[in-house]
């Protein structure tokens, strides 16, 4: 019997789990978590590992290392901060944003067309971890690219630049940006509408490993273990990608992960089915997609959620008989004390409504929509973005949703979102709701590369179906 350990170094908690590898797959042996030690991540990592191996905390890491196979991930510094530069907002820029998010990053700002002096100084101020630089199809536009390359070269930015634009001028870009670290990868849109974000994701991941993780002691762990950590969101992304490969009945699934700082939405379903009456506008989004919302979260981002989500919150508070003021006070309380747990029934309800708002706005931004158009040839639907109608399973993960036993937090906002303005949102038609009952998805995601079947199997086995309890969606 072999033990495999997976540790996820989060922004507030370092979570670990020990799995036993049996003939039939993984079994969860135990789980633990300790507060993340901000200035030196190794301390928390060491303690988690020692606990899982039932060893004394004083045992040096070198010794612990030999006792088990160990995988780890890190969401260090609250994730990877990227700035995206594209050409046309609906084409290359949109893809650059998608690529950045599905690689586990957070887009702090995006820029279309030529960078202005103001844009450059804003970029300098934002000081992102990576600039993702794209634009032009292969053999297509080069004017804006070369112009932007010159501006980036003369800026005071210090971060690496990933170039994923027009291949025809990649060498020129390298020449112009001589004194910068520029990593060239395949164009993320080689032809209009053709999506090629895999190579970009891979590059971003490489940089994440080398650069960002180097601080705060993680290099020590990397040296010792001879393996790299995964960005946490990427771990979940890989798990979502792999589940339907082994379990066909789990094709078309979505995962919502509400954290303290961000809300992540993952989906694995075909984004567009071509028919005579549906016309897709803009890019065809990838089958596996992740979006991350930096302004939606239950603690660190509670205040920005309160602003973003005003419309939804007001509506729900009225329905539940609360005043907006009560919510405001609650938000003030939780954003000054990040480890605050709701005490009263009222506070629990308020926390729940906040979580609903996270679901509502994350789903709004992740999903596409339909507009009805009457043409001389009859009624036609114009689709933009991703069609989630065929999604059969929605799984809640993250601290809050893993513990939430009712479908309401996900079902209510999704039901309310069905029509948004003039648009019919393409949300799951008849989903079943599940929860990641032991909050395992991020730690299981670490194991996907080596143990895809086993990780997928345990993920599927450890979710709990919430919809069976007679709560209906429609």
């Amino acid at each position: 019997m072999k033990t495999v350990i997976s540790i996820d170094i989060g922004s507030t908690w370092t979570k670990g789990a020990a799995f036993v590898l049996t003939g039939s797959g993984f079994e969860l042996k135990e789980k633990t978590s300790v507060p993340t030690t901000q200035d030196n991540l190794v301390v928390g990592f060491h303690e988690t590992l020692a606990r899982l191996l039932h060893q004394d905390r004083q045992t040096p890491l070198e010794q612990l290392k030999g006792l088990s196979e160990i995988f780890f991930s890190s969401s260090a510094k609250g994730g990877l901060r990227l700035a995206a530069i594209g050409l046309v907002p609906d084409l290359t820029l949109q893809l650059a944003r998608l690529a950045a998010m599905s690689a586990g990053g957070k887009v702090v700002k995006s820029f279309a067309f030529a960078l202005t002096a103001g844009d450059v100084s804003e970029l300098e101020k934002l000081n992102p971890d990576i600039v993702l630089f794209s634009g032009g199809t292969d053999g297509g536009n080069s004017k804006y690219i070369l112009e932007n390359a010159k501006k980036l070269q003369s800026s005071r930015l210090s971060c690496p630049v990933v170039y994923a634009g027009n291949r025809a001028v990649a060498e020129d870009v390298l020449n112009i940006m001589k004194s910068r670290e520029v990593l060239v990868t395949e164009n993320l849109m080689p032809e209009v509408g053709q999506v090629n974000i895999e190579p970009v994701r891979e590059k971003i991941r490489e940089i994440f490993l080398k650069r960002i993780v180097a601080g705060r002691g993680l290099a020590e762990i990397v040296d010792l273990f001879g393996s790299q950590p995964k960005p946490t969101p990427l771990a979940v992304f890989e798990l979502i990608s792999v589940i339907p490969e082994f379990y066909e009945e789990w094709s078309d699934l979505a995962v919502i992960d509400i954290g303290g700082a961000t809300t992540d939405f993952y989906s694995n379903t075909e984004s567009y089915l071509e028919t005579d009456t549906v016309v897709l506008k803009g890019i065809r989004e990838p089958k596996v997609k992740r979006t991350v919302e930096g302004d939606l979260g239950l603690r660190v981002s509670a205040r920005s959620l309160f602003e973003t989500g005003q419309t939804y919150l007001e509506d729900r508070l009225r329905e539940e008989g609360f005043e907006l003021k009560e919510m405001e006070e609650f938000v003030n309380r939780i954003s000054s004390r990040l480890d605050y747990l709701p005490e009263s029934q009222t506070e629990k309800k308020l926390d729940q409504i906040l979580a609903e708002a996270c679901v509502y706005y994350a789903a709004l931004r992740h999903s596409g929509g339909w507009r009805e158009v009457y043409t001389p040839q009859g009624r036609v639907y114009v689709q933009t973005g991703k069609d989630l109608r065929r999604v059969k399973a929605i799984i809640g993960s993250g601290g809050f949703l893993s513990a939430e036993k009712s479908t309401a937090v996900m079902a209510i906002p999704l039901r309310k979102l069905r029509t948004y303005g003039e648009e019919k949102k393409l949300l799951p038609d008849r989903p079943s709701f599940y929860r990641d009952r032991h909050y395992l998805f991020s730690v299981l995601g670490n194991l996907v590369e080596k143990y895809p079947r086993e990780a997928a199997s345990l993920a599927v086995a450890s979710v709990e179906n919430l919809s069976q309890k007679g709560e209906s969606y429609d």
């Binding site: 199809t137 506008k281 040839q377």
Partner: protein, 177 residues
């Protein structure tokens, strides 16, 4: 490399897709790199695609009779977006009713289209004109330098004459659906 990129599509709320596919096949076989945006394409989408691909020409189709409204301001938007020397063609069933083609042509030329075609044309000829016009505006037909040459010279192609008999009525044959 070395092929001139052209963007094609059917503008507005028009869903006629058969002719559009024929155009794609034809211009590809004529040696152009064709970016086909399909049906129900807005002016903005045409222009976005032309910017990303550094296209030399945009060929707009319209078959359902509302072409005039859909195409209003197309050249102006190109200018706004910095697509200055781009070649603009439009063709199809451009207006409803019995307007003589010469009137239709005049109308669309005033909107800034370089050439206007009825629904029944010899595509070989169109391809030939397209090569000429690209050469005129971009210096050479294949990967030429951009030059300042503004539009609107060299209008009124010889074959516009043959178009007159069409009257913008039901076209003979080439109409999809």
């Amino acid at each position: 490399m070395g092929k001139d990129t052209i963007v094609i599509g059917v503008i507005g709320s028009d869903c006629h897709s058969v002719g559009n596919k024929i155009l794609e096949l034809f211009f590809t076989s004529e040696g152009f790199k064709v970016v086909n945006l399909g049906v129900m394409v807005s002016q903005q989408e045409f222009i976005d695609a032309a910017i990303e691909t550094n296209a030399r020409a945009i060929l707009v189709s319209s078959l359902y009779g509302h072409g005039e409204i859909d195409c209003q301001g197309f050249r102006d938007l190109c200018l706004e977006k910095g697509l200055e020397p781009i070649v603009l063609y439009v063709g199809g069933n451009l207006v409803v009713g019995k307007t003589p083609f010469s009137v239709v042509e005049e109308k669309f030329k005033r909107m800034g289209f370089d050439r206007v075609f009825p629904s029944d044309v010899d595509l070989k000829q169109v391809a030939e004109l397209l090569r000429q016009d690209i050469k005129e505006k971009f210096g050479s037909s294949l990967n030429g330098q951009e030059n300042e040459g503004q539009s609107n010279q060299n209008q009124l192609p010889g074959q516009a004459a043959q178009a007159d008999q069409n009257d913008g009525q039901e076209p003979e044959g080439s109409r999809p659906k």
